[in-house]
Symmetry: C2
Subunit: 120 residues, 2 copies
DNA sequence: ATCTTATATGCAGATATTGCTATATACTGA
DNA sequence: TCAGTATATAGCAATATCTGCATATAAGAT
């Protein structure tokens, strides 16, 4: 099988500390660039560039929603790989305080505005 | 958690077509360098270098047995990751024809000599 | 049209990786 | 000790990646 090339490309893409954190963040629900930028404390162009690498490797897909672009993991294959790497952390079913999504001060996206309870 | 760095380093190490094939080969049982070299149809120094990369990343460990050095996956964490990437292929319990270990013509290691039935 | 906000792209110096070849080391046996 | 086999390392040119910065695009609001 020469899925080896395909899978190796995927592993290479997520084999980077920042990019691994990104896909871990995307595991529970789609996030926009500004949210990731705030969560990682990295510049927007930098995050956007890392997202482009993940996107070109087929790890994530983007979906526009007005001015925001939300990214999510591309498929189950990726999800399994990320789970194997980061642990099968539980995601909030709908609104569970313990595993609730991080609403960030630095982020103005629709998901964060209005529910500003996150860490600064 | 800054396991991110550690895990990313592991993913980066196996995020390479040849190295991914190597860890996939090592999934069922330890193999020596000459066997991997024959199985991958790559020069001994080249394979040895890729093994060194995997070894330095903590993905595999080596064990000397006379003149041969056998490599195996380092731990369950690695096994899970490789399974997620390559599929949870069954390994022969002891001697099962279907999943039996590849005995290679180009390889003279103790595991291959005597049971030369593999593909050439 | 223009301004603002959100995101993407281009560029560039520093650094790392790739795959190869030549050579070195380590063990075994005579 | 010396030869033979198994494995490791050094060195190299080509290529790719990293990460910061400046700038470009795209959509919404005025």
């Amino acid at each position: 099988m020469d899925d080896y090339h395909r899978q190796a490309a995927m592993l290479k893409a997520i084999g980077h500390p920042i990019r691994l954190r990104i896909v871990d963040l995307l595991r529970c629900e789609p996030e926009c660039v500004c949210h990731l930028s705030a969560a990682l404390d990295k510049s927007q162009p930098y995050v956007s560039q890392q997202l482009a690498i993940l996107r070109n490797a087929g790890v994530i897909v983007d979906e526009r929603e007005g001015t925001n672009i939300f990214y999510r993991l591309a498929d189950e294959n990726v999800v399994r790989q990320v789970e194997a790497a980061c642990g099968a952390r539980a995601c909030a079913p709908q609104e569970d305080a313990a595993t609730a999504r991080q609403a960030l001060h630095g982020c103005n996206c629709p998901k964060c505005s209005g529910t500003l309870t996150g860490r600064g």
